[in-house]
């Protein structure tokens, strides 16, 4: 099932699985009506769902997570022995290896997904729904998942694979249903479809994502030298080197949790315990001081706009001044907010960045995802920063908003900014960056011109010192 963000894929699947109830229409499973609105009924009918955001309890074991809900609530006793036996059988049959007694908190992302799939199989699912399963996997792990899915279909399972990524859908499916704005606009045989066809169906018009134009990089803007954070752990940085120049976009590829967040925190001013140096336009970064960093010419687009980017319960103008509220421009006598000036500036920014809203005094909570991101862009880009940190800037946005955000980044690049683009979407990185580096287990590879490394190579690097134990990252050197 293919569709852009907001098309309704998850809603449809939630109806199938009983979380929501449709206002009209029926669902038939094996010729029988499925009682609506009941997850129990869906599970009994053989439907299993692997959600996009894992529904696992960290503090409980794998076995407990899998067996929840499988026994009658009123029984006085867990039948541990037969649960273990059944689970062992499934692990064997499908090759989804995991230790039943380990706490979920100690599992890797790939292993957690296996637990999710086992949960569905344990309940004798014959129809498996997977909602954006590869969002958090490396290319190799995705390949492994596809192989597992193919072996499942060989055993007779029916699988609904939801994604907005064209190449995955093409790789794994037999048939494709395209959903757009809540309606199915086409059902095709995979063998008979092309990317362009699908993209057009998905969005409803000829899709052109912005393309990179050739511009020569200029002076050095950001110099990260030998930055490490002390603690141990996959997300802690080890000897990071990176240089960004004017007029260029440098991308960092990698699965979440490998240090990108830590690096972003350091560059955003949220973290100051690190060794090594970060120079911005030749001067030391005012570490741990977000407002000073912003004042020195940095625009930040945070990873999670709801959690970090905006205070949803405040007004739009209040969110637009959050980074420079203490500056002379926005406050008088050091502590009184200049409301008039702030609102006036907000008006300009709203117009300039096309934020669809009722005005600067409207509540930020009411903005759609795309408009909220535009607000963040307005805040970050209004002062023409020399360095822009964009962390997953188009995650969860519809195609229109994606195109807008990417256009803005390209405009900034043309103007002379240096942009660091952190993304989990390899397609985006391949299309939008001048140079690309890979982050894995806290180490950053050299940033080579985009296109010099193949996707397969990048995928291997993303996995890094994985459970394979291979020292793929041994050849990482200082990159410029």
């Amino acid at each position: 099932m293919l569709g852009e963000n907001g098309a309704g894929k998850t809603t449809l699947m939630n109806i199938l699985f009983g979380h929501y109830q449709a206002d009209e229409g029926d669902i038939l499973v094996d010729g029988e009506m499925l009682p609506p609105g009941s997850t129990q009924a869906a599970i009994s009918a053989g439907i299993g769902m692997v959600h996009q955001h894992f529904t696992l309890a960290d503090n409980l074991s794998v076995l407990e997570n899998i067996t929840l809900g499988t026994e009658s609530m009123w029984s006085w006793h867990h039948d541990q022995a037969s649960s273990r036996q059944k689970l062992a059988g499934l692990i064997r049959d499908y090759g989804l290896v995991v230790d039943p007694d380990v706490l979920v908190a100690d599992l890797s992302v790939g292993e957690r997904q296996r637990v999710e799939i086992l949960k569905a199989l344990y309940r004798d699912a014959r129809i498996l729904i997977l909602d954006e399963p590869t969002a958090v996997l490396t290319p190799q792990e995705s390949e492994r998942l596809f192989a597992t899915l193919k072996s499942m279909t060989a055993k007779g399972l029916a699988i609904i694979f939801i994604s907005h990524k064209l190449h995955e859908i093409l790789a794994v499916s037999n048939r494709i249903a395209v959903l757009r704005r809540g309606a199915i606009v086409g059902t095709l045989e995979t063998a008979a479809s092309t990317r362009e066809q699908l993209a057009e169906l998905m969005v409803g018009r000829i899709v052109t994502r912005p393309r990179l134009s050739a511009v020569k990089p200029g002076e050095r803007v950001l110099e990260i030298s030998d930055v490490s954070t002390g603690a141990t752990g996959a997300a802690e940085l080890k000897n990071i080197d990176l240089v960004l120049h004017q007029h260029e976009i440098v991308g960092i590829a990698g699965v979440a949790g490998n240090g990108q967040g830590t690096l972003a925190d350091i560059l955003s001013g949220l973290r100051k315990d690190f060794s090594g140096s970060v120079l911005l336009n030749g001067k030391m970064l005012d570490a741990g001081n977000p407002r000073a960093i912003v004042a020195s010419g940095v625009g930040r687009i945070p990873e999670d706009r709801h959690a970090r980017g905006v205070v949803a319960d405040m007004d739009i103008w209040e969110n637009l001044i959050s980074e420079d509220i203490r500056s002379d421009a926005m406050c008088r006598a050091g502590f009184i907010i200049d409301g008039n000036r702030a609102r006036a500036r907000a008006e300009t920014q709203i117009k300039q960045f096309d934020v669809r809203c009722k005005g600067p005094n409207a509540q930020t909570r009411l903005l759609s995802g795309g408009n909220m991101q535009k607000l963040i862009l307005a805040r970050a880009l209004s002062n023409s920063p020399s360095f822009i940190l964009a962390n997953q800037p188009v995650r969860g946005l519809d195609e229109g908003a994606i195109a807008y955000v990417q256009e803005q980044l390209l405009e900034a690049r043309k103007r002379g900014a240096a942009i660091l683009l952190i993304s989990e979407d390899l397609d985006e990185l391949m299309a939008l960056t001048d140079r690309l580096a890979v982050m894995s287990h806290g180490r950053l590879s050299s940033a080579l011109p985009t296109g010099e490394r193949s996707i397969a190579e990048i995928g291997l690097m993303m996995a890094g010192h994985d459970d394979r134990g291979e020292a793929n990252m041994g050849s990482l050197t200082n990159g410029h």
């Binding site: 939630n14 009941s38 997570n65 867990h78």
Partner: protein, 315 residues
């Protein structure tokens, strides 16, 4: 110091400890169940008051003791239901709801008491639970008097500890409760109604709390007077954190506190001349704060504690 050791060696001290620990066990187990399901129940102080008043009043009006206990438990469950409607179904602030329920429940208890006994200047008494001596075991030295000559409610409290452990950790219901406090979306995804699980847990927990209050008026003392819970409910909340949400540890923590309070009464008698009694009375509260500090770094909170669950909400 030798005074101190002497105190520890008397049967009376241990008997008092076990008596004092009983309401703490009920309260802590009750709060533990609520929090395991993801709901912070700050109505505990008020619910214990309700239990104290209603159980006592049942007996005063002519009912039997166990009927009183059941009545107190059901009153507790009613207030638990009220709390659950606000916090679980409407998703309102668990902090403020709890404080509101404490104020409402305690003031309602006092109001009803005054309504039914308008002229009582000295609190009237009932015939409380009498200690039951377990044959043969109660003749053992020290332990005999301490452990095996307690009232029926105390035996119930002690028996509840392993029972609650078993239900929480060895039954499907308990797993659902624990999951609701860790990842309610996971519970919903299995077709189990999270709201029902949380509501049930809060009601059961509140029933326990009310019985804890009833213990004070029906087994320990024999009258009801104002301010009788005296912060014990809050101490139970601290004890739950101290116990890392585990029933066994809850018992240990409660025993520690009860021991402190038992010592305090006796130490007052010996050291009362030098140290004002108020400082002894302060000990439980201060120790509770310390208990929370000690456990603050180490604990793994139930991940969904304080997070309201909205059905169908996807991240």
């Amino acid at each position: 110091m030798s005074d101190f050791i002497d105190i520890l060696l008397t049967a009376g001290f241990w008997a008092a400890t076990i008596r004092i620990v009983s309401p703490l066990i009920f309260g802590t187990l009750g709060e533990l169940i609520c929090e395991r399901a993801g709901v912070l129940n700050l109505g505990i102080e008020g619910i214990m008051t309700v239990g104290a008043m209603s159980g006592w009043m049942w007996v005063y009006q002519g009912g039997d003791l166990w009927g009183g206990v059941l009545f107190a438990a059901s009153m507790g469950a009613v207030f638990g239901l009220l709390h659950a409607v606000f916090t679980v179904h409407l998703g309102l602030s668990q902090h403020v709801t709890g404080i509101g329920i404490t104020l409402f429940a305690s003031s309602l208890s006092y109001f009803v008491y005054r309504m039914l006994l308008p002229d009582a200047t000295t609190p009237p008494k009932i015939v409380p639970f009498k200690p039951i001596a377990v044959p043969w075991l109660s003749d053992l030295p020290i332990i005999g008097e301490a452990l095996f000559s307690q009232s029926a409610l105390t035996y119930l409290a002690l028996a509840l500890v392993p029972m609650v452990w078993y239900v929480l950790f060895r039954t499907p219901v308990g797993l659902a409760v624990r999951m609701s406090g860790e990842n309610p979306v996971a519970v919903e995804a299995q077709g189990i109604n999270v709201l029902a699980v949380r509501t049930g847990a809060v009601m059961v927990g509140s029933a326990f709390m009310a019985v804890g209050g009833a213990f004070i008026t029906m087994s320990w003392f024999d009258a009801f007077y104002f301010g009788m819970i005296n912060g014990r409910g809050w101490i139970c909340v601290a004890l739950v954190i101290f116990a890392s949400w585990r029933p066994g540890r809850a018992l240990l923590g409660a025993l520690l506190f009860a021991g402190l309070e038992a010592i305090q009464v006796r130490a007052q008698q010996s050291a009362g001349a030098f140290i004002p009694y108020q400082f002894f009375l302060m000990l439980p509260y201060v120790m509770s704060i310390f208990a929370m500090i000690v456990m603050a770094r180490k604990t793994r909170y139930p991940q969904a504690l304080l997070v309201p669950f909205r059905r169908g909400e996807r991240v």
